[in-house]
């Protein structure tokens, strides 16, 4: 019987009730008395010099309250990159200013250069159409290789070329890796495109700025995954508002996947406009704006070389990558293609020599930043594709070649040649689970059945490892992070024994309100229903870093555990006082405090009441109240890992690929709520399969985004996907956090793209199309069919 509550129980989610009744509160659902509406003018060209912006006619239109252009913000700060990454020759990265509104030049289609604020949304929109901007189009820098080749045509005039930095990891490995590859008996080289994606959280971004002239206080309600980070960026870096005078609230948020980690100019604008007008200003993105101006993801072009012995033993990996950062540096854009990518390039394997080179390139496209998985999907795709090709060249079974090279359980903690120390794992065991749940043994029979229908069936298998729970401040600080990456929680126990947990995590679909309550309920032996989880409001929660990088439970959950343990320690003191015993003799179990070796006990409720009715406390040694805060800074990343298998059917007549089955065996360490964990994996798989088969952001050579609606950007729909088989019974608990959890939010998106591509290539080979070595994602029918033609 599964548990029905506490850690490990598949509890249904409490937050579902409000969402299912239509009573969620998303930012656009909030309307503030007296609010005005903002509409942005966005560049229609990818690159252009801004001349005169004629706002006279617009300013006279009905309802118009204010018009802003880049000129209004030229003296405020820029939106900074959160990580400093140096080039391998020691030069610092180039960091052009990212203004609130474009000034001087527009640098991508959708780059906002003006904003209108009016009484109603319709009036703002009408007035925006009356603004005449003289924007002289310049040649667009779109293709990365061309951007590097031709430094004359520059996205940022003040930079010498279009390269942000040229990073080597680890530079000291380089000569050794080169020598190992030169001497290797077999080298497989592969050129890969990791396709550009658009995150497409279903809730478009929205922000409401408020300003109280009486107190000088600002308030920003916004679609954010991390309200404190947004507050820091917009207040301290951009607008120069004292942090304590700005409250940022991220209410219910309809998905993020990375795209709502970042601070965007629209947030600064609604605050500045609220201040100028003395009334609230609201903006809600249209989906078309989301396509053009949300941070995109991925967009790497990579050459990877894998050197091995004839028996498949890995000797070395070397990669060279061009990574697109788009027109401006978004907040995490410099860490995503570097430390979240290069440090994972040893995968789950013993590879003695690894060297990674990444050049980040400015282009006249939307900024590119972390999207679900963030760098780790790119690393996994490169490694797991090249292993598959190598296995085929060497005549070794793809599962077998991986097994031969796995880091084995006896080798942990294991230090990789790219700077990480994996604390624990059992890759052979996850592979065993996968072989079973995917019924690999039955593949041949299923292939024969597909063949009878005239379809080519293929099997693709791969592994993944990720570094999650970002992470230890000392480590990320040494690597270039400009922020710490701890997290915080406050546990406030009320006099009647129920409690509020204020967490730095933000839930935008992850079910924290349910899962965090399970953790505390287990710890305190009280029901979940007496625990409230508070998140998303900087005026209520301690300073935390929010949710991304699968960090919520591992980092924020650990902070909650620490704060809860402090509560227990304090409560024991109170109980000891009540029972006239020494605190060290008091034991706490199942919601009851007792004096060891006696029958004296007091229950949780009585202690909580006493904390707030301290009539006879010795006040020098025992304070009233029961409220504790803990900041938790982990010792290391966590390392979820797993093995995935995909079976596809390819229609040889059309090249259409159908996912016949997908199985995922993950090791997430301990699990708090399996129902939620499975849901996280399902969603990740859908995004990974979307990347592999249907999704891709396409700019034409003039920098126009061709995939700017759901008509052209193919989101996976219900009938593109099967039921998934997922398993997380292989558990090697994280060794350094109190819950032994690793994080599960990104695994599906990281592990699935190579499985799909490996499966399609396998299907083609089995069908006799042995000339097809690789097809770039998305594997659309036309690409697959074209590859099949000799």
């Amino acid at each position: 019987m599964p548990k029905d509550h506490g850690i490990g129980a598949p509890m249904t989610r409490r937050e579902d009730v409000r969402f299912l009744m239509g009573r969620g509160t998303y930012t656009d659902d909030v309307n503030v008395q007296g609010q005005a509406h903002a509409v942005f003018l966005r560049s229609q060209v990818a690159h252009g010099r801004i001349g005169k912006i004629d706002t006279r006619a617009a300013a006279k239109m009905p309802g118009v309250l204010a018009i802003f252009t880049g000129e209004d913000f030229k003296d405020v700060g820029g939106n900074p990159a959160g990580w400093f990454i140096g080039s391998r020759d020691g030069t610092p990265m180039r960091e052009p200013k990212r203004p609130v509104l474009a000034h001087g030049k527009v640098r991508h289609v959708g780059d906002a250069y003006a904003a209108v604020v009016a009484e109603t949304y319709a009036q703002a929109r009408d007035a925006a159409e009356a603004i005449v901007a003289d924007i002289r189009e310049l040649p667009a820098v779109v293709d990365m290789a061309e951007a590097v080749r031709n430094p004359k045509n520059r996205v940022h005039d003040e930079l010498p070329d279009n390269v942000c930095f040229d990073w080597g990891w680890i530079e000291d490995n380089r000569a050794k890796v080169d020598a190992a590859i030169r001497a290797a008996p077999h080298v497989t080289t592969l050129h890969l495109v990791n396709n550009r994606l658009i995150p497409n959280a279903m809730e478009p971004r929205a922000s409401i700025g408020e300003y109280n002239p009486g107190t000088g206080d600002y308030r920003l309600t916004t679609t954010s995954q991390n309200p404190h980070l947004t507050r820091l960026l917009v207040a301290a870096f951009v607008l120069g508002i004292p942090e304590h005078k700005l409250t940022v609230v991220a209410p219910d948020v309809g998905g993020g996947f990375g795209s709502k980690i970042y601070h965007y100019g629209e947030e600064a604008l609604v605050l500045a406009a609220a201040r100028r007008l003395g009334r609230p200003v609201k903006w809600t993105a249209e989906r078309s704006e989301s396509f053009l101006a949300d941070a995109h993801g991925r967009d790497h072009v990579t050459k990877i070389e894998l050197a091995c012995e004839k028996d498949g033993t890995f000797i070395a990996i070397r990669t060279e990558t061009l990574a697109n950062v788009g027109a401006y540096l978004s907040n995490f854009s410099t860490v995503t293609p570097t430390f979240l990518h290069g440090t994972l390039m040893a995968g789950n394997y013993r590879v003695p020599n690894v060297y990674v080179n990444v050049k980040t390139v400015f282009t006249n496209t939307a900024p590119v930043d972390a999207y679900r998985g963030a760098g780790r999907p790119e690393a996994t795709f490169s490694i797991e594709r090249v292993i598959d090709v190598a296995a085929r060249e060497l005549g070794i079974d793809p599962i077998e070649i991986r097994r031969r090279n796995f880091i084995t359980p006896d080798m942990f903690p294991y230090t990789t040649p790219v700077g990480l120390q994996y604390d624990t794992g059992n890759y052979g065991a996850t592979m065993d689970r996968l072989v079973e749940i995917a019924d690999i043994a039955g593949f041949e029979q299923r292939r024969a059945e597909s063949a009878r229908k005239g379809l080519l069936r293929g099997l693709g298998v791969n592994c993944y490892i990720e570094a999650c729970g970002i992470a230890p401040s000392n480590l990320v600080g040494a690597l270039g992070a400009r922020v710490g990456l701890y997290d915080a929680a406050t546990v406030r126990v009320n006099a009647t024994g129920n409690l509020s947990i204020m967490t730095g995590a933000h839930s935008h679909g992850q079910g924290h309100e349910t899962a965090f309550a399970q953790v505390v309920a287990e710890r305190l032996g009280i029901p979940e229903s007496s625990i409230e989880i508070v998140h998303g409001d900087t005026s209520k929660i301690p300073f935390g870093m929010g949710s991304y990088g699968s960090r919520s439970l591992a980092v924020c959950g650990s902070a909650i555990v620490r704060a809860t343990d402090k509560i227990i320690a304090k409560a024991k003191k109170i109980a000891a006082h009540m029972m006239e015993a020494a605190p060290e003799d008091v034991e706490f179990r199942d919601g009851k405090f007792s004096v060891v070796g006696t029958d004296k006990s007091v229950d949780w409720g009585a202690v909580c009441l006493k904390a707030y009715v301290p009539h006879n406390f010795p006040h020098e040694s025992l304070e009233p109240g029961l409220e504790e805060t803990a900041f938790y800074d982990p010792a290391n990343f966590t390392y979820p890992a797993g093995a995935y298998a995909c079976e596809v059917e390819v229609d040889p007549g059309t090249g259409k690929v159908t996912i016949a089955s997908f199985a995922a065996a993950d090791d997430f360490g301990n699990i708090v709520n399996p129902l939620i964990v499975e849901g996280q994996v399902h969603g990740g798989l859908a995004q990974g399969i979307g990347q592999a088969l249907t999704e891709g952001a396409v700019y034409d050579s003039s920098g126009q985004l061709l995939t700017a609606s759901y008509m052209d950007y193919a989101m996976p729909r219900a009938d593109d996907l099967p039921f998934f088989r997922v398993d997380h019974s292989c558990r090697t608990p994280c060794t350094h956090n109190p819950l032994g959890v690793k994080g599960c939010g990104e695994a599906g998106a990281i592990g699935s793209p190579p499985a799909v591509v490996n499966a399609v290539i396998d299907a083609l080979h089995r069908g006799g199309y042995t000339h097809v070595r690789h097809i770039d994602m998305p594997l659309s029918p036309v690409r697959v069919w074209s590859a099949m033609q000799r």
Binding site: A122, A201, V253, S288, G679, H682, G683, Y710, R717
Partner: protein, 161 residues
């Protein structure tokens, strides 16, 4: 501005709207029924699905004035009379058919329309019917499972662990 009158979740309502006001905006802004979500500007995401005289429509594709005299049901009208979750809503909760909740109102309204015309749909029929509703969070697995469960079918063997 012209006046429009309709019945929403059993209540007679009216308001003054512009000719260009969409039904989705009328519901959200004039009536405060913010359960109907707007996820796109091209009628492609399905977050805004409501029932108009019993049939599912994308509320972002109907002018408020065109709903004159109609009976509209939104997600706010789907709970049982005692305020508890209706059968489909409950199935979504039981089977974790939602994460961020943004697509959910549209999903529930589409699922309700499907089950009205097809009381025991197959997995394939459900997937085909929900083609106009995009969910970015769930991978649809638990949504399809919830709809099967809501139609009284046994889902205990789906994707057995």
């Amino acid at each position: 501005m012209p006046k429009v009158t309709m019945t929403v979740n059993g209540m007679a309502v009216s308001g003054e709207v512009e000719g260009r006001t969409l039904l989705s905006d009328f519901l959200r802004d004039d009536l405060g029924l913010t359960g109907t979500h707007v996820g796109c500007d091209t009628s492609q995401c399905g977050a805004c699905v409501v029932h108009l005289d019993g049939a599912p429509v994308k509320a972002c594709s109907v002018f408020a004035l065109d709903a004159e005299g109609a009976k509209v049901t939104t997600i706010e009208g789907m709970a049982n009379p005692d305020g508890s979750l209706g059968v489909i809503q409950k199935a979504f909760q039981d089977h974790h058919g939602l994460q961020c909740g943004f697509c959910t109102p549209g999903m529930v309204m589409s699922a309700a329309a499907l089950l009205k015309e097809n009381r025991k749909p197959t997995e394939a029929e459900i997937r085909a019917y929900l083609d106009g509703n995009i969910c970015r969070c769930t991978g649809y697995h638990n949504i399809v499972k919830a709809v099967l469960a809501a139609s009284g079918q046994d889902v205990s063997r789906i994707a057995a662990e």
